[in-house]
Symmetry: C2
Subunit: 442 residues, 2 copies
Amino acid sequence: MEPFRLTASQAQAKFKDGSLTVEQYAQSLLDRVAARDSTVNAWAYLNPELVLERARELDAIPPEKRSPLHGVAIGVKDVILTKDMPTQYNSPIYVDDAPKIDAASIQTLRANGALIFGKTTTTEFAATVVGPSHKGPKTTNAHNSKRTPGGSSSGSGAAVGDLQVPIGLGTQTVGSTIRPGSFNGIYAMKPTWNSISREGQKLYSLILDTLGLYARSVEDLKLLLDAFQLVDDEPEEPFTLKGAKLALLTLPTPEWPEPGPGTAAALKKGTELLRAHGAEVEEITLPDEFRSMYKYHLQVLSGDGRVAFLADYYGAKDKMHGSLIDHVENKDKHTRQDQLKAFDELAAMRPKIDAFASKYSAIVAPSVLDEAPVGLENTGSAAFCGPWTAMHTPVVNIPGFKGENGLPIGLSVVAGRYRDQYLLRVCTEIGKVFEGEGGWSR
Amino acid sequence: MEPFRLTASQAQAKFKDGSLTVEQYAQSLLDRVAARDSTVNAWAYLNPELVLERARELDAIPPEKRSPLHGVAIGVKDVILTKDMPTQYNSPIYVDDAPKIDAASIQTLRANGALIFGKTTTTEFAATVVGPSHKGPKTTNAHNSKRTPGGSSSGSGAAVGDLQVPIGLGTQTVGSTIRPGSFNGIYAMKPTWNSISREGQKLYSLILDTLGLYARSVEDLKLLLDAFQLVDDEPEEPFTLKGAKLALLTLPTPEWPEPGPGTAAALKKGTELLRAHGAEVEEITLPDEFRSMYKYHLQVLSGDGRVAFLADYYGAKDKMHGSLIDHVENKDKHTRQDQLKAFDELAAMRPKIDAFASKYSAIVAPSVLDEAPVGLENTGSAAFCGPWTAMHTPVVNIPGFKGENGLPIGLSVVAGRYRDQYLLRVCTEIGKVFEGEGGWSR
């Protein structure tokens, strides 16, 4: 198998047994990028010489001194600061801007031996949903160049889906990590809010923005959580599907849109598979008290965007997308009282969602409306991703299903806050079933 | 009067009528620093040539093109990124570190014509309370070199108090802005949480950290709030003390320490003065439901510090203060459930505090236990500052009183969230009374 096809954990096994060097691995990834980049366009910055130089530095470390993420190649969404590469936010204000500073997440990954590979495309400031004609990325879906990879973490989703890199970093403020995960047929995780430092990651909303993780196996996600020292309260007990009690949330509340046929079929098939493997699956809807969640979410975004984009607005309003200007100018005339009410109501819902989730082994829910839509001009709806961002709970997109046009569709699996490691154990088992029998494969 | 004695607004009036240039003003401030720096030690970085060069650039702008903060000189706490000066956090890890990037607050201030003057001292990462023998700043109180200036915004508090600069930026996670404000006899404001972007400001706690503002007049604070586009919902109606209904909060809950004699006397005298000027003052305590606020505050700090300092811990644990290592290693063995409970309970208290505050024109409360203590090894108790940080409400320290040793003591004035401009109108009137009749003057 060509090295670029390996997951990070598989590549690490070969580094350990001496059958692959980090440099050979990096070269294979670079070859894959070279073959595919003119189609997929996943990279905002990639310097092959820098990658190979770092790879050789890692190879020079004696085996006994290697760190847990030794040689793990990571594509970094271009809203996260990297001291050896520009950070451009897909904004004309920041073309070639390259401050010598690493985000906290990058510091941690480097300290653990990771190979920071390059910067992946994003929509402007990770805060718009528009395509190339409005400065959006030219990135295409990993499995069909006529379709969107999703956004705003477009490049990380597409690059990991297209085997150009095993791990990607994204961010999520509504659905910017989970949506590209489903569209590109990969695992995507939004951990518990503030469980990984967001320092050095472009700010949109303090209470919503979360670092997102992409991989092609649950094992790889666990590598990352361990490096970030995400530890649950509960001990690491094995999870089995047999006897598990899962909640199937087809429609969180009547405020949400109806899933399309691909997602509806995935939910149906997923349920059948889980039951066939011994799990109890109870179809649920969220109680009425959560009905206004999405409305409050958008209200908080609006108030927070007003603050977050003021500095760039002062400096270069003419170079910003209209939706960001609208935030700063408070075009919708939201009051501060509206903003506080939304902020406080979401806060009050969080412990209630935890209590609700604790009645089940996990919640299974749609990740997206359907397979990736045709065209690059719109990155798709994030409606189903929003609840877990607003509620701060960890969520993982598991791939395995396909839509009417053969594109991948994933489902979201959710647990209460700070049960991130537990959630990965659940996803290991559900992932085997969905990937093995769901009907979609790369 | 020597220019260095002017408030920012007074200096701006002279720029406008042509009786002072920004360069002359900057030179006067630099002369003041030169005369006092060996005693006060307020600066972590100050480059006179850079200051004068920027001042000349500002003078070169034609009067009709000048911005609202034209020539306003600002000392910046050295945990806030500045692209033309190092940012060192008082940490040996970051000695001479100078990434080319401005924090969002600095971008906004520069875009408004401010003169970013230099970097002011801080305790390590704005997260310790220790003095020079433990890497704490050598900064002394502006009014007595044997006493602490408070922390963690030690340098900004001392520099503004000592007339070395008219405006300072601080940060507050418990009491790091308000405490140095009281100790150095100046106005200090912690605006509503997240009403000014914290991007590019060292992270300790996402839900607590707030940019802080120092000045020697309320008029100067208003200049800053306007530049940051802090707008209340309510119209700008004049506030008068006559007929105002103020709450006097001598002891928030029994969990708080007793004020010392200086603060007790200030509260007594402040009350008499307010009543003499026609205000009704009602002595109150917070209802029992707020009793655990401080405990929850410390719990959130602990959990958030665990995340915030992980990256530096990986890179250079041996160069960090023990209290920060304890955070990362979770020495107190806090559980995630403890952390969530504290986070959620504080969130639930916030709308209740707003409702409580709305029954009064404002709340008057102690800022600190007493005048600045002798010695530099401890920056003093932040107990009285904590509630307003945890509750996200705006708070202003108003100087005017003095302790048993003649050092300044201020009182805090508080309103509900997003009533920042209203609070300044209240403080204009209370400030006249406290500064005029409180008994302390520079």
